[in-house]
């Protein structure tokens, strides 16, 4: 008498469809698990049915809320409709036609070879020019240069080892095998060495009004950095923090920048550096995202609120991070002194303080990132 079982199966399959509609990934394998799960529990206990479905159909903590609403709506007929996942805010805002628009076509007709070594005077000029003063055309040519810079990543040695004749660790498995021929004497020795892997890199980019002129160039830089491999996390902040990594992970910088612009709704508003750093430490620092990472903060240090909060949160960040690099475009001006309250409060916790107002200074940044050492124990 398969009737009740069939009814449940239909119910679960439809519920799976509801979940897919709100954005959860529910494949046939999971539906199968859910059915087997329901088979094993007491169907008259609502709580057990709930957990059996949740544990088989959801695999991320941040999807639990979505699941709960869908469950309420579907199984308990509660008068709430599951919301469409918060994607509205992330729709690409095509109207924000910043001049970086056609970047993906630009650059292809550049002369070949290593962009960084092109010594032509045009490039030389471009290198020194302040981002704020660039024409859209110049900006377009900037892209490939920025990409080459972004590929230099700080490295660290991994605990994982690889065969290496010049290495300093004995490869015992091979050594034993080779010693068979020499009666147990380890004459022919094999070595391994520790593999070099990219160090985690976290970039926090200020996109508030006072930084507007530099944001475009820096977002290009961010995009190139995220494209350079795994272990990179990018965030934008103004009055609040917004994680950019998923948006920047596309191959098309134009679309990525469009999405960023739309996602960071406070684009052009004031800056709350301390509060943004706190949010970063609370949410991402607790998940050890910053532990052992090189953290790059791009901001002019104009804090709208309390500089003390900046100092406190910088101290927290500095304890977790491997090193902190602060990039301040204003530093490109020889007259500049770090007088802004937020900047002054942050500086004691900063390992390297750089300009970042033009291409040359981004090169400097890349060189610093490639060779950065841990700060002395403070």
């Amino acid at each position: 008498m398969p009737a009740p079982g069939d009814a449940i199966a239909r119910h679960v399959v439809t519920f799976g469809r509801v979940l897919r509609e709100v954005g959860l990934e529910v494949g046939p394998g999971r539906i199968g698990d859910a059915l087997r799960g329901l088979d094993a529990v007491d169907l008259t206990r609502q709580e057990d049915v709930y957990f059996a479905l949740r544990q088989t159909l959801v695999s991320r903590q941040d999807e639990l809320d979505l699941f709960d609403r869908a469950f309420l709506a579907w199984f308990l007929r509660a008068p709430v409709l599951p919301p469409v996942r918060g994607k509205e805010a992330l729709q690409p805002a095509r109207s924000v036609a910043v001049p970086v628009e056609r970047l993906s076509e630009g650059g292809e007709e550049e002369p070949g070879g290593e962009p960084l070594e092109v010594g032509a005077s045009v490039h030389e000029l471009l290198r020194e020019k302040d981002f704020a003063e660039m024409s859209p055309d110049e900006f377009r040519r900037l892209r490939r240069l920025i990409q080459a810079i972004a590929r230099m990543r700080p490295r660290r040695s991994s605990r994982r080892r690889q065969p290496d004749p010049g290495g300093d660790l004995l490869d015992m498995r091979r050594l034993v095998r080779r010693s068979l021929r020499t009666g147990g004497d380890p004459v022919d020795r094999a070595y391994r060495s520790r593999k070099q892997v990219p160090r985690k890199l976290v970039v926090l980019c200020d996109v508030s009004g006072s930084m507007d002129a530099y944001s475009r160039a820096l977002l290009l830089f961010l995009h190139a950095v995220v494209g350079s491999g795994s272990g990179v996390e990018a965030f934008a902040f103004g009055t609040r923090l917004s994680r950019l990594t998923p948006d920047l992970a596309t191959r098309d910088p134009e679309a990525a920048i469009d999405r960023c612009t739309a996602a960071v709704v406070d684009w052009g508003a004031g800056t709350r550096i301390g509060a943004s750093l706190k949010e970063f430490n609370d949410v991402y620092g607790r998940r050890a995202l910053s532990r052992g990472a090189v953290v790059v903060i791009v901001s002019d240090g104009w804090e709208r609120d309390d500089p003390d909060l900046v100092a406190r949160e910088m101290a927290r960040l500095a304890r977790a991070a491997y090193a902190i690099v602060w990039v301040n475009p204003l530093k490109g001006n020889p007259e500049y002194q770090p007088l802004a309250g937020g900047m002054r409060a942050a500086l004691p916790h900063v390992d390297r303080f750089l300009a970042g107002h033009n291409l040359r200074s981004l090169e400097e940044l890349a060189a610093v990132l490639a060779g950065i050492e841990r700060r002395h124990a403070a």
Binding site: Q55, G184, R287, A288, R316
Partner: protein, 292 residues
């Protein structure tokens, strides 16, 4: 030992001094019933590792634990050859009488947790702790092991599990795990327990603690979790702290003793400073009123 209902499993976990909520019992039960690995996530100190240990006790199974770390490789997770013994063996034998087969035989094999778990005749709970700390290469390898429950050693051949171990994975979410691994496993998020449950847990884990003290300690920690702290205390901290208070012979808490023992609840200097003075006195008052 096997369980026919969630209630049976829950009773066995209680007998092992572990008080799960219904969600966790269901998750552990389904893991056994569906023979799937269970991925437990949650803040530090909510009892993820403890859950696996108690499951082993409840099942009367052997607990095999693999603690993950960055760079964890096959040699430390699965097996390794005993090189010093191999070398000695070659030297001790007559020249040319040792074959490679002999040298790479079971006698010279060092068995690490995964191999132990797969190649066991007794029931096993395999705890893969803090999988998020291992790197992605290892995660991919683990995925293979958890799909086929078999391990191949080039010199010896393939070893198949004769009975599938119950597998519990824990993660602190320092990074997102690979989707393929998540698809393979059931998932349960452990939150902080309700106040009643936390009081029960304290009473169970700190034998002889006055009921009043248990309630006040749990209440105070609950207040702390409501504050904006860098690292909110978990159940593990509540238990540690209650033990300390009980060892001091307290019947209830007051501002003075809380101040002296705060270090066993809060592990960051900023957090300790944030609750000093007025905040502390207020929280103590609230916890005491609530416990009354």
């Amino acid at each position: 030992m096997s369980f026919r209902t969630i209630d049976e499993l829950e009773a066995a976990l209680r007998a092992a001094d572990y008080l799960p909520d219904r969600g966790l019992s269901t998750a552990l039960f389904l893991g056994l019933a569906l023979e799937k690995p269970l991925l437990l996530e949650g803040e530090a100190g909510v009892g993820k590792t403890e859950a696996a240990k108690s499951l082993a006790t409840a099942l009367d199974a052997r607990l095999i634990r693999l603690q993950c770390y960055e760079g964890l490789d096959v040699a430390h997770a699965v097996y390794e050859w005993n090189y010093p013994r191999q070398l000695l063996h070659i030297r001790a034998a007559q020249e040319g009488t040792v074959s490679e087969d002999e040298l790479f035989g079971p006698e010279f094999l060092i068995r690490r947790p995964l191999l132990e778990a797969i190649d066991s005749d007794e029931p096993v709970v395999l705890l893969i702790d803090e999988i998020d700390r291992a790197d992605e290469e290892f995660e991919a390898f683990l995925l293979e092991v958890l799909s086929d429950f078999q391990i191949t050693i080039p010199e010896l051949g393939t070893i198949r599990a004769r009975r599938k171990p119950a597998v519990v994975l824990t993660s602190n979410r320092t990074r997102e795990l690979h989707d393929a691994l998540k698809r393979r496993a059931l998932f349960h998020w452990i939150g902080h327990p309700s106040i009643e449950r936390e009081i029960d847990i304290v009473k169970l884990r700190v034998p002889g603690i006055p009921a009043r003290l248990a309630a006040e300690a749990a209440g105070f920690v609950r207040e702390l979790r409501g504050l904006d702290l860098a690292k909110p205390p978990g159940v593990a901290e509540t238990i540690d702290w209650a033990m300390a208070l009980n060892a001091l012979g307290r019947q209830e808490i007051d501002a003075e003793v809380v101040e002296q023992t705060l270090g066993s609840v809060l592990k960051y200097r900023e957090d300790i400073e944030a609750v000093r003075d007025e905040t502390l006195a207020r929280l103590v008052d609230e916890a005491r009123t609530a416990a009354r």
